[in-house]
């Protein structure tokens, strides 16, 4: 049976979104994340080896700050 996998998305108040995948192997993480990246302005993408597979993470660009 397939191991349960997870995508974690942190929607921060400053407008950034940090996205991480857990327990994926190879390109599966990027494929799994793809449907959730729509509309996000990806600014950084990195992969790290992790027990049980790869961890892929993305960070989106921040919303511009208000200047009164």
């Amino acid at each position: 049976m397939n191991k349960e996998k997870a995508i974690i998305m942190d929607f921060m108040d400053d407008g950034t979104v940090v996205m991480e995948g857990e327990n994926f192997v190879g390109d599966a993480c990027d494929k799994a994340m793809a449907p959730y990246k729509k509309g996000l302005n990806e600014s950084k993408h990195e992969r790290k080896a992790k027990t049980g597979g790869l961890m892929s993470s993305i960070r989106t660009s921040a919303t511009v700050k208000k200047k009164a």
Partner: protein, 149 residues
């Protein structure tokens, strides 16, 4: 004085935005073609989130495709297309408009954050996965789980 700003992130899922409005106590008014603001652009706001810097013509300020009402505020939020055809959340945050900003955050960041969260949740459910929301320091975490992710 007017300070018309726009969210940097465009609206990619109108249904998710409607649900985000509901969660945040705002009223989405479909097809309302004008929104209330100071009413006259006096070229006095030019920060990075100024609507005109994100492709909205100042001459079009106050016109919109849909509007959002904030309870207790005379000004409104407008959804306007920029020069790339993207739908942006636009409002005047000066004076009365500060009441809008108090709810949706600078450059509508809190509203757009909620829209993104709901859009991701809906996508996950559509794909047959489980979702759970958690409050974290400075934001909201969405965990999507499934064996077929």
């Amino acid at each position: 004085m007017s300070h018309v700003c726009a969210g940097a992130q465009h609206v990619h899922d109108l249904d998710a935005l409607k649900l985000a409005c509901k969660e945040m106590g705002l009223e989405f008014v479909a097809n309302q073609k004008t929104f209330k603001w100071w009413g006259r652009w006096v070229n006095d706001y030019d920060a990075k989130d100024a609507a005109y810097k994100l492709g909205i013509k100042p001459g079009d300020y106050g016109k919109c495709e849909h509007a959002i009402k904030v309870p207790g505020c005379d000004y409104e939020i407008g959804l306007m297309r920029n020069d790339k055809g993207q739908l942006l959340v636009v409002y005047d945050f000066y004076g009365e408009g500060q009441k809008i900003q108090n709810v949706v955050g600078p450059a509508a960041g809190l509203l757009l954050k909620r829209m993104g969260l709901i859009a991701a949740e809906r996508q996950a459910v559509k794909l047959g996965h489980k979702t759970v929301r958690m409050k974290i320091n400075g934001g909201i975490r969405l965990k999507i789980t499934g064996r077929t992710l």
